[in-house]
Each structure stands twice: as structure tokens, then as C-alpha cells.
């Protein structure tokens, strides 16, 4: 490694520091903007919530790429090593998305049960002609 190469490598490190620092500050700013701390009122809009969330996730993914490829020197490894580490992680990201979906479904089902709990039985309807209903049955509905 020549002398000029070394100076260049040091410069790259400090560029990396700048990239990560600026991205982190942008992330915090976007997050606070999305929660209505910078400009009041925007936090009630769904599009702001989704937009800022997506932007922060993309920026974090770029930070992760930068740390793995530049700081951990993944870009200098052979493609076999790259794939054997990154491919399982990539598949895991799909697993995470699937489980988050599942969590959302638990929420929806719980709400559904709560709504059904509120449904009242119409007591004016006579059921005797069809089958016998004990007096305490209706408390189960």
C-alpha cells in the first residue's frame, strides 16, 4: 500500500463519518417532523405518517449497507462470502415482514371480537317453536 493510498483511505473514513452523521440527523429530523414537532398538525395525516416512516426505513437500510460494505469491508470479500452472509439475512427480512403482518391481523381480530361482544340478542323474537332456549343462555351472546 503506497503512501498516497493511505491518505486516501483516511479521507474515505472521515467521509464515512460524515455520511452516517448526516443520515442520522436527517432521520431524527424526519421522525420529529412526522410526529408534528417541527410543524404542528401534520401528524394527523396518514400520508405523512407512512411517508416519513418509509423514508426513515430507507435511510436506515442505506446506513446498514454503508456500515457492512465500507466499514466491515464486505465489498472487498469474494462474492461467495458476500452471498453466504447476505442471502440468509435477505430471506429473514421477508420473515420479519410476514410476522409484522401477522401482528396486524391479531389486532384486527381482537377488534372484531370486541364488536361482536357488543351485539345484543333481540328478545322479542320467540324461539320456542324451534328449540328450547334456557333462560340463562342469552348472557352468552
Amino acid at each position: 500500500m503506497g503512501h498516497g493510498n493511505y491518505e486516501e483511505a483516511i479521507k474515505k473514513v472521515y467521509i464515512g463519518l460524515g455520511v452516517l452523521a448526516v443520515l442520522t440527523l436527517v432521520e431524527v429530523f424526519v421522525s420529529l417532523f412526522g410526529k408534528g414537532h417541527i410543524m404542528g398538525g401534520v401528524e394527523d395525516m396518514k400520508v405523512v405518517l407512512w411517508g416519513t416512516g418509509l423514508l426513515i426505513i430507507v435511510l436506515s437500510a442505506y446506513k446498514a449497507y454503508y456500515i457492512i460494505y465500507k466499514f466491515m469491508h464486505m465489498e472487498q470479500e469474494v462474492s461467495g462470502l458476500q452471498l453466504s452472509v447476505l442471502l440468509p439475512m435477505g430471506l429473514l427480512i421477508w420473515g420479519m415482514i410476514a410476522f409484522f403482518q401477522e401482528g396486524g391481523s391479531w389486532n384486527a381480530r381482537r377488534q372484531q371480537i370486541k364488536e361482536k361482544d357488543k351485539i345484543q340478542v333481540d328478545e322479542s323474537v320467540k324461539l320456542e317453536g324451534y328449540y328450547h332456549v334456557p333462560d340463562d343462555t342469552k348472557r352468552y351472546f
Binding site: 464515512g16 389486532n107 377488534q111
Partner: protein
Amino acid sequence: MATETIAEHTEMEHQGQDSWSGGKEPFEASYGKLMMWYFLLSDAFTFAGFLIAYGALRFSMPTWPVPDFVFSTAPFGIHHAPLIFVTVMSFLLIISSVTMVRAVQEGHRENKNGVVFWMILTVIGGAGFLGCQAWEWNNLITVEHMSVTTNPFGTHIESGVYLEGDGHGIKEGDTFDAGDSYLIHYHDGAYDQLSYRTESGEVKQQEFGPKAFGALFFFITGFHGFHVFSGVAFLLIIALNAASGLYVKRKNGYEMVEKIGLYWHFVDLVWVFVFLVFYLL
């Protein structure tokens, strides 16, 4: 690389045939470095398991504590400064990651003093992060009384007016909107759940927030903090070894420093995601 000769290039092209004849490192990485990569991969799976639990539980709740309300205090009596303290913590880890890259570079040049100097700075960054985390945990546990099983950070699901004050921020007659956060304060050994009247005229009491929040927060940030602590311990040991001249004898460009460097960057990498899910979203 520009310095690569044609001879080296042809050698690389033939590597596919030579790989199985023995005496070659798989993936052209030393055993230690390769295994460090696979350890980090398995560790990433452990963290992913935690984050899956966090995400699934968070999505399964109708409300979730708002991070810019929960994490809005900082040392020296700073209040209502959302995410500021945790941003400082993130910067400590980023800076210590950069000093680690410098230590690895000096190792490649076989510069003993440079390696030790940059590793000491990395240790200071890591220890600073741990100190900040200790302050944050202490604030949550002893001041705000969050625990693994109790989450005093709640969210109003409809608008209303308070019927009593808590002696902190809330006074009798204060109004609130749906989606507003509150902290149930702890007085004389009990949580003080304030009563309020909703817009529809019902009188209710402040309810605790999703119970899983405390457990998820303490376990995930604790597991990450434990990684930082182990990292600081190993960095110290390897810095001492480097200072003693142990790695000079090995003549392998301070590979041990490179390996602990991989681990340390991974700790920073995990923090990117902990920071994302707990504080930013």
C-alpha cells in the same frame, strides 16, 4: 485494484479449480475472520427474533407508547427534548465505529502505537454509550417507574377533560385529544391513575399502556447493551495485547484487531435498527 498485475489476475481466474486441492482458505478469508462473519450472522438472527417479537406485538396493539413522548428527557434537567439524548448516544456509537476503522487501518500498516491509540478512543466511545444507557434506564426505572411488567405510558383513545391533577404536568380541568400520550405518575408506593370525563360523558381512569412495551424495551436494549459491554471488554483486552507487542510477532497485519473491528461494527449496525424501531418510528 490498480496495483493488481496481470499474473495475479490470471491466478484468480484459476482459483475455482484449485479451491478443492487443499491448502487454500475458503472464500479467501482466514478461518478467524470467516467464523466471525458467521457468528455475526447467527447473532443477527437472534436480534431479528427479538425485533420480530417487538414488531408483531406492536402491530397487534390498538395503541403504542409514542417514542418522542417516552424518550424526551436528558441529563442536567432537560425535559421535553424528544429523541435528543438518544441521538447523542447514536453519535457516540458512530464515532467509535469510525475510530475502530482507523485502528484497523493502522494495523494494516503494522503501526503499533496507532492501533492502541485508536482502540483506546473506541473503548471510550463504547463506555460513553454504556454510561448514557445506564442513565436512560435509571430514569425509566426509578423516575418514571416503568418495569418489565408495568408500562405507565398510555395513550388516550378519545378526547376529554381531567377531573383531577397529578402535581406534575396535568391540572384539574385540563383537556386532551384522542391520541395524546400520558405518564401515570407513581406516588407513595402506588400508581396514581387520574380520572377524566370523556366527550361522551363517561367518567374513566387512566389505563396503563401495552404491557409488553417495558419487557421488549429492557430486553432488546439490554441485549444490545450487553453486546456493547462485551465489545468494550474485548477491545480492552486486544488493545492491551497490541500494546504488549503480541501482534507484532504474528506479522499478519493485526488480524485480531480486524476481527474485533467486525464485531464492533456489527454492534453499531444493530443499533441502527434498535434506534429505528424503538425511537424513530
